[in-house]
């Protein structure tokens, strides 16, 4: 279990984090989302000890995290980086050794990841001569080569093509399945919704929502999609003051959010008065909907 308690950090006068707390269970794929500048990278850097927090603490398996513990974490920073002139295999072995692996272990692990990520033929090449996609693979291998107990990845999917996204999703799910908590940040909310069991949404250095994806989606549930034949506008909805349009689908259907005690039945009645109802359903909000709502307030 990874526990973050009340993390706070300022850069001069700028407040980057203002009391972030959440925890990640063993084997959980945990999505960390929020607008740019919300404090995601700062949080991850604090977990990895690259930055020190002004306040709060990070605990791993019940104990405060120290340098020895951190060397068993795996990290992929947002700003990708490897030694450009170092050869792929030598680089991975070196990083594994820095994390405390013995020479033989390090060599074996580097070989395993090189094969697994399809880099076998480029293992002896300098990193700078690799394509961007292959460099990303080496970067992933760098985070995994020492068999980490915890994985923290900052925007791991950015810049990947669809095949790369699939490979990475597979590797992360597989890793989580072995009991390793995997925390990653992303702006690709559909992907986060599909992959992650739990998420945290941050804004301006504060946590605005967190929990399992199911909980978060179920907690709302007060959205309906309705389509009325021949009606393009939402003028008829004025009959229900406590309902408002969230968005309009391409098929002319309306996504309607209910507030202040308005019920789906009232919306349905109003729709029927306006014309023939061709579609009516209770909608569970997507993570994107939740995100928009969370960061708008």
């Amino acid at each position: 279990m990874l526990e973050l308690t009340d993390l706070a950090r300022r850069y001069g006068d700028v407040v980057a984090l203002d009391g972030i707390s959440f925890s990640v269970a063993p084997g959980q794929l945990y999505g960390f989302v929020g607008p740019n500048g919300a404090g995601k990278t700062t949080t991850m850097r604090i977990v990895l000890g690259v930055l020190a927090p002004d306040r709060g603490e990070v605990r791993w398996r019940g104990k405060r995290v120290d340098a020895a513990t951190r060397s068993r974490f795996g990290y992929m920073p947002e700003e990708r980086g490897l030694y450009p002139k170092m050869r792929v295999r030598a680089q991975l072995v070196y990083l594994a050794r820095l994390h405390g692996a013995q020479p033989a272990e390090a060599a074996a692990a580097a070989g395993r990841w090189i094969d697994r990520l399809g880099l076998t033929e480029r293992a002896g090449d300098r990193v700078e001569t690799l394509s961007l996609g292959n460099q990303q693979r080496v970067q992933l291998a760098a985070a995994l080569v020492h068999d980490p107990e915890l994985l923290v990845l900052d925007e791991p999917f950015s810049g990947l093509d669809p095949v790369g996204v699939d490979v990475l999703s597979g590797v992360l799910s597989e890793y989580a399945a072995t009991g390793v908590p995997v925390v990653f940040s992303s702006h690709q909310l559909e992907l986060v919704e599909r992959l992650c069991e739990a998420v945290a949404i941050v804004k301006d250095g504060r946590l605005v929502a967190s929990g399992t994806v199911d909980e978060l989606r179920g907690s709302d549930g007060r959205t309906v999609r309705v389509a009325v034949a021949g009606e393009d506008g939402d003028g008829w909805l004025a009959a229900v003051p406590a309902a408002e349009t969230v968005s309009r689908g391409r098929d002319g259907s309306l996504l309607v959010a209910l507030t202040d005690g308005a019920t789906p039945e009232e919306v349905l009645d109003a729709a029927r008065r306006a014309g023939t109802v061709t579609h009516f359903s209770l909608e569970r909000p997507t993570l994107t909907d939740l995100f928009r709502k969370a960061v708008a307030t």
Binding site: G49, V50, A52, A67, R80, G81, Y94, R97, L98, A142
Partner: protein
């Protein structure tokens, strides 16, 4: 600080740098220069005796030339004498076959003759004519000889004369140059290594598993060992070539002096390397390194000029003062040690001052480095780096 982490970083710096072509080329050039410096002078005949061929026309001239040949050794010269006919003499002079032609009372040459040759021949001429005059006056052969070859003046100096100082002065000059090149090169390698890690952003991965101090220490130690090994190689080749060609007398004094010079590289490097690491940590890109390293480059340059001045006057005030300044001592003391002009208390005192300065600088450098190394966006002010709180 974990030793294993420092050792890993140091080993990477060493092995990666050795594989670079620029390192290989640099080493070869250094060795080539030192070999040339040792081998070239004898090859070009620079250190050999002056040799002259003198033509003699007539008996009287032949006597003078013969006397000149006998007395040339005292002038550090060697003279070959040949009898020539008056007709062909000018042609041989013009062709360079002869350096000078003597007749009864004329010394003839193609251009203005060499001062040394003139000196030798005039002295010989004086000797022959004076001898003839004395004999005419009735002196016996023994009396003539006694009158013409009096006991030469003895030379004495206030300061003791070390015959080797001249040849060692040249060696000291190259020692200064090599130390200067090595300190500057390896200082820049430390700085550019730091910038490279910042620019490629690999530093964030590194710092997620090791501390800034460990990274700094490993880098400085690794490159320092490489610099020392390279110097050892260059020194060994230089000494071998010197022994083989007999250019310099290699004895235990010289070996100790060379060893001490190597030690001074270590001291100087310890002082400058950390400062260079800070210069690197403050800038985000290699292009900006020149600017942030300028104060350090200037300091080394000034030390170079002071070292040249000290080398030409190894006992002067500047020599004594600069021995106790941390950044000049590593370059002014080794040449003085080589020529035997540095008293032991200055060597020890200079080493203590330099080591103390390095020891004081290292924690400051570590703090500035830690505060600046993660700020990859733009150049960091020294003050901000000092105040920044870094990793736990």
């Amino acid at each position: 600080m974990r030793r294993s982490a420092v050792r890993l970083v140091a080993r990477r710096e060493l092995t990666e740098r050795v594989r670079e072509r620029s390192f290989l080329v640099g080493t070869c050039v250094s060795i080539a220069i030192i070999a040339l410096v040792v081998v070239l002078p004898p090859l070009l005949g620079l250190d050999e005796q002056d040799r002259y061929t003198v033509g003699a026309v007539g008996e009287q001239a032949a006597k003078v030339a013969e006397a000149a040949r006998a007395g040339a050794g005292a002038f550090d010269a060697e003279i070959t004498v040949r009898r020539v006919e008056p007709d062909g003499a000018d042609t041989e002079l013009r062709d360079g076959e002869l350096d000078a032609v003597l007749t009864d009372d004329v010394l003839r040459s193609r251009e203005k003759p060499d001062d040394k040759l003139v000196g030798v021949l005039q002295a010989a001429d004086r000797e022959v004519r004076s001898g003839a005059a004395l004999r005419e006056a009735g002196l016996s052969e023994g009396e003539v000889r006694a009158a013409l070859s009096p006991e030469p003046l003895r030379v004495s100096t206030i300061e003791p004369v070390d015959d080797r100082r001249d040849s060692l002065g040249g060696l000291a000059f190259f020692t200064i140059l090599i130390l200067y090149g090595q300190l500057l090169t390896y200082g820049f390698w430390v700085a550019s290594g730091v910038v490279e890690e910042k620019a490629s952003r690999v530093v964030e991965i590194l710092l997620s598993t090791i501390r800034p101090r460990e990274l700094l220490a490993g880098k400085v130690i690794g490159l320092g060992l490489l610099g020392l090994a390279q110097l050892l190689l260059v020194a060994a080749v230089g000494l071998l070539v010197a022994t083989a060609t007999g250019a310099v007398d290699v004895d235990s004094d010289l070996l100790i002096a060379v060893g001490l010079s190597l030690l001074w590289f270590v001291l100087g490097y310890a002082f400058f390397a950390c400062a260079f690491a800070c210069a690197g940590a403050l800038v985000p890109r290699l292009e900006e390194l020149q600017a942030s390293a300028t104060p350090l480059t200037l300091t080394i340059m000034i030390s170079l000029f002071i070292a040249f001045a000290v080398n030409s006057d190894p006992e002067g005030t500047l020599a004594h003062v600069s021995a106790f300044i941390p950044f000049t001592a590593p370059m002014t003391l080794p040449p003085r040690i080589l020529v035997g002009a540095a008293p032991w208390y200055e060597v020890v005192g200079g080493a203590v001052v330099t080591l103390a300065a390095a020891a004081a600088l290292i924690p400051l450098a570590a703090r500035i480095y830690s505060g600046a190394v993660l700020r990859t966006g733009s150049a960091v002010k020294l003050r901000d780096a000092w105040r920044a709180r870094s990793a736990a």
